[in-house]
Amino acid sequence: MTALTCAQARPLVQAYVDGELDTAASLALERHLARCEACRAEHGTLRRLRAAVGAGLTAEPAPAALRRAIGRRLRAERERARPWRLRTRALVAVPAAILVAAAALALAPIAYERLAPGGAEKIVYHVNETTDPATALRNIANHVQSAPGLKAVVVAHNNGIDFLLAGARDKDGEPFAVRVAALKSQGVDFRVCGNTLARREIDPRRVIPAAKLVPSGVAEIGRLQAKEGYAYMRL
């Protein structure tokens, strides 16, 4: 394969950063980035911009009142669309009031209630030294996206706490703090094991402010499951 020129490489950088390039084009671009400082700078700038924008923007969930209003309007729409059912039932002389109640029950918008806060899913993620924090954060972000109202707590202990220390970066040199802050703004709680800090003689002030200290990570995981009905997931 012939090497890319800068003019060919530049338009690919954004698609690369967005994960929209196929493997062949990605490889060609990566080769170019490895030896072209200007394009590499462009790539770094775009990545940093994406990280900053991703951390700065938080989605605003639909208010409960909106869910209820939509539920009501859809129910009304369904009832309007099925007079035949009322008529068929009326033939067997069921009192109208019961019919309406039955229809309302049958059509109750279960999904809205399931999505509403209160019935929220609760999960505690366990992060320890065998966890790859970058993958873990990606999985948590996906989970949060697919389960609105999810209550998630990340408990880190042993060497699993390292990504929650100030200045921690992933393999690509991107700071973890940005992703942690983004998840935190979506309601994900991060808790660091105090026993681990003591044992490894780590100054608690090194833990990033977005994460909380708990006396014992293991005890915290147990408490969340036993007392607060959290499901357990090892990452």
């Binding site: 940093r48 909106l66 700071p175």
Partner: protein, 175 residues
Amino acid sequence: MGRDGKCERFERLIVPHLDAAYDLARWLVRDPAVAQEAVQEAYLRAYRFFDSFHGGDGRAWVLAIVRNACFTALDREPPRATFEAFDEECHADTPNGLPPPEEVAMAREAQALVRDAVAGLPEEFREAIVLRELHGLSYKEIAAVTDAPIGTVMSRLARGRTALARRLGAPERKK
């Protein structure tokens, strides 16, 4: 049976995208009450036209309806998807003066800065950026939602990002 099936499918495929729908509406019409009204209208419309949804990406499908409802609520036409060349010009001049991301992103005022910068973007850039960065839609999905060719989506993203980088990167240089 048919109707219950429709109802169940709608709950399963379309209702879960309500948060994304509301969020997009907030970014497009800003006023929360107008946004709620637009989303209600959109969901009712989506339910009525649900027979025309033949599987695939329920999120892109309903977001496109929400987007149209938003422009109806604003009493305006959606931005035209005229052909925009995906030119290099808009890639060449991303400013390089961004501070390291932890400094940009960690500070609370920096978050407000990002929000303001995105809110200040021209509509067609704003919706592309919000769909991409906040909701993680692919180019193809953004193209479906905004009824624009993929080249246009890429160009809008690139220009939107250039504008954002300018605003976020070098505020002190403006003085």
